[in-house]
Symmetry: D3
Subunit: 248 residues, 6 copies
């Protein structure tokens, strides 16, 4: 079930049988010369909807913009500051918790979001406790990073080896090619690609990674690979969600 | 052009010929017994993309959650607090302004967003001036509310008269039916519907408007009407955008 | 009754018979070559006190500084940022709500305040609900803009036609002349006056409106006109307040 | 000169000969059974205007609401939280500093404001330095507390001895009687009055000081005393302001 | 008892017999050519632990960084902004109040902290009241400034007269020499030392006080003096703490 | 070199040869029935000072309180909210960056700090870029978690196997025993210890981990083990720091 395609009475009925909700979260940031700026949101959304459909779970509208400050020296990148993102997540969960949702499963498409999400969860638990919402103590949040699923990781290594890299990777590009086959981009990719540098500020990032890729060769991606990654991620995260729901 | 389906070099090229960008903004809130919770985001996104396609303008990913605190006593509604939303909009524009965008045309699907958006624009102009970004003084933001377009309003009155109401209206429901014909909902609608009350807090709102509608009869909506509204809004807002771009 | 000229036991007695309070809110901003910087606060305060006196309603001290960031390229203008103003209004209402006030009628002298005030009301309703103050759900805020009163508007059009303009208007200048006849200012006014431009940041505003006026000819103002506007605004807003109090 | 009764060109002329401005700041809080809720703002405003008139200094509109959280268990009291008040003062000074003012002389009527004002000054100096405003390093803020003037203190002790107390004092009540002789209040005053307790939260304060007075006997106040206090404070603070302006 | 050397069951036992806690707070800021950057934290910590040991009171870990923005033009100085420090103190007390502590005795080593601490206490009382923590109304905070103890002040005047000054004083340097005899620093001290200037921003401060001292001659300090100051401060503050605990 | 035992001229000299600084950060939180509440700060401080001493690096005063909201249902635990901690770290680095430090090496004793620290670094890079501090683009922050050092981890597994657990671990308790041999605590430890549960809010945490331990048996710790851990961590982190400094 997609929240945005549901009515409020349908949500009311849903809450009688489940307190769980899936929240796709991505980012709007450069993904190298051929990767889509929406890559992280596209992947998270597609996979989250796949999970929701398969196991009849409610899926929230996608958080399209995340924490990508280090990418903002490339045009088209948009980022929340961490302090803003904490308030955004706190606001989302506060509204949903008042309605009765207690199990929040974020399906995340961007490594840069993880730290701020965890900070936001801590801030939110405390905030809810201070509000004395009846079910505040039952609220639980977790993150499922599709690109860190064991099965996904294994396939990426098999298909791409070291050329998987860590940003603008062929695996994530492949998923976007599967979802948006009409938006497959071509551009010359320098064989020399920055890799292994630590991430600091935006200007520094662009100096180290001049075309935006981090050690990756997205030219290896195909839509068929994308379907494979999508299927693996949906399967693994579906299991993870069900375990999360079942846990006390 | 859709920002999320573009690469950063494509954005760089775009910026050479235009400094304008369209930002769809909606809300995630109850829309009565038959209206979709995502109605405002769905309409804003569809119309914004229609505008962008017709006149080759860049369209940002949709801001799916807006200022809907007064709807949050109905399950499934999610809202930012105004203070959070101001920071979100400030963060978006700050990133895009650093990349060179100066003309921000928000296509809005939710009346409840307007006040906070205007507050956010003021906050942002000041913030950018304090940062000494080169083009800070050129930054201009404006809102195009599709549901307030003269042509849309006229058609709504012709088709629905007083039954248009002011929330969960047949016109907005019609647009969602046109965009998502597979998600047309049916439910009994009481002929007695709250209308004309002022809007205060969430609990008060639900007391006055027990099924979420405000004076509307969404049963009048049809997908064909939706196409008409869509076409009118795209046409009128396209002109508005071009005038905005052309203005000094 | 003026709150600042009352004692706390008098407020206690007042609360036994009324939960309503009038809050005048203005701005401290340039009003062209002849308009007083305090125009918006002066008008709001005078009219609010007129209303309070006529119908025995409590009147709060005036909020003298509002949201006028776009005027701050002219010396003497002072503005809160919207995010600050939201916190100010939230703090005012939180204190007064704990004491038992539930009906907040802001009499406003500045169009630029409206958006931020509405944002602040939404933020405040939510905040009060989270505090579990007993009467939080009864709290209602509304804005009465004296310059938008139908009777005021009609007279302004009769007296000044198009020369009323939209900032540093003869109508508001007239009210200040009525209230402070000893502070009537004279200065040459260029017949060419900026008009019809959209409002963005402060530097941009001063470029478009070099002497601060927006399409107005304040030289038409007289203290006698001011008295007429004052009387009309007091009468109309008194009725508005009483209706607001009487409404459920 | 009163800022609110000036035009922006008059401010421009003023800035050619002085960079100083006087900012009256009071509070809106209970002052015992007979003291006016606006006492602190009334005194600060009257004295500030007296100073400004005598030495031709610009006087800002009064900040009517300050930091009075500990009084908020009495109806009619309104307070900013310290974190809000810091932002308010920062916003005021930022606007005025951009216009060229560098010497900020706050005339304060409320002891409870002092700590937060000092915190706000520190926050503001840092903020201005970060903005790279040309004259940021010249910005200087100071507080003149009229009730702590040596001459005022001496007279209060002579007239009232220990019955001066520390809140709702006869000296401040006398000043309000001088300014608003038509608002002199009478009420039985218990001879037993709380005194000497430390100040903590609002509920605690009301328990310790049940009628709001702190060791004072405001029945001793007369309008004639008020004039004496007013004259002394104006004289002493005028000298203080001139010394502040003259200092490097 | 030192909180950081206790276990949580030991704290639980402690709370059965006392609700009081001592919080040392210092600063990390320049103290002239020979004074340690940690002077204020070192003194506060040593004295607080002396107090705690003597009377069996719980001592919190030291807040090492306080409000020292005016010192930040000297390398090595670190400061919180006042708005940050208010949140830090609010967070500390909120955690401890939930555990049952109600009496907070801050032993402070830095004059520049006082205003912000007082602001923080007010903010915190209000915050706790809004949370409806059971014992919120019992929470009391106070500051004991060791350098303002009557006995300390008297000895400093006897030993150093006017050369005590007001920053990088021989008394505080002496205490650090007593605590860290291995870290006694030598450097030429100009006999001309800035004194008597008001404190504004950081750049201004460094201009007025070029070597960081304010009217002081820290060369007069000895470890033996330090022991005397330490003993006097521990004795006087121990009494103050016990009176604070005993007061209702 | 310890910053708090240095003078500002010594810092000035230091900056001529190094732009690096070590910041120990811990937490103040329950560590089971026998672990010290200050465990994380004690370990981070001792190890950071060991590193600084060995390689002549500047060491900042310890941040004693971190992000431990999930431990706050146990008395004695103190936590910053993530949003506060972000501001604290931003303030620290802003001050130090203005003085010329560019390489920030945090030595961390608490896993719960990591996410918020990373969020704070991102927030800070952006903040510094907006300030146009000359060396903003050179600022680099990194975290060295002593308990995650490969050599430490290996020894812990050898000594304790599965009884290392993940909170109140014998390895961290051992380090505190080495540093504070006089504060070794004894208490009966239930052989049944919670393990493997996810971490959510504070009340939930205490329910799952009733005595505060997470799968650990701290009774295995000895001061001798502590010395071994200390030595390994100092050695490994010293190398890490030097590599960090040497990296571009």
């Amino acid at each position: 079930m997609l929240l945005h395609l549901s009515t409020w009475p349908e949500v009311e009925v849903y809450l009688e049988k489940s307190k769980g909700i899936i929240l796709p979260i991505g980012s709007t940031e450069q993904h190298g010369p051929t990767g889509l700026i929406g890559t992280d949101a596209i992947c998270a959304e597609a996979i989250a909807r796949g999970v929701g459909e398969g196991i009849n779970a409610m899926v929230c509208p996608t958080i399209n913009v995340g924490m990508a400050l280090h990418h903002t020296a490339f045009p088209g990148s948009i980022s929340l500051r961490p302090s803003t993102m904490i308030m955004v997540i706190r606001d989302y969960i506060t509204c949903l918790a008042k309605a009765g949702f207690t199990k929040y499963f974020f399906i995340n498409g961007h490594g840069g979001n993880i730290a701020t999400m965890k900070a936001a969860f801590s801030e939110t638990y405390q905030h809810l406790a201070d509000l004395n919402i009846p079910n505040a103590e039952q609220v639980q949040c977790t993150v499922g990073n599709w690109f860190m699923c064991g099965s996904v990781w294994k396939l990426a290594k098999e298909l791409y080896g070291d050329q998987e890299g860590s940003h603008a990777t062929p695996s994530e590009v492949a998923v976007t090619q599967y979802v948006y086959p009409e938006s497959i981009k071509q551009a010359p990719l320098s064989p020399d690609v920055g890799a292994g540098h630590s991430i600091y500020g935006a200007a520094d990032f662009r100096r180290r990674y001049p075309d935006g890729r981090m050690g990756s060769n997205p030219a290896l991606a195909t839509p068929e690979h994308g379907k494979q990654f999508y299927d693996l991620a949906v399967k693994e995260l579906s299991n993870n969600y069900l375990e999360f729901l079942a846990a006390e």
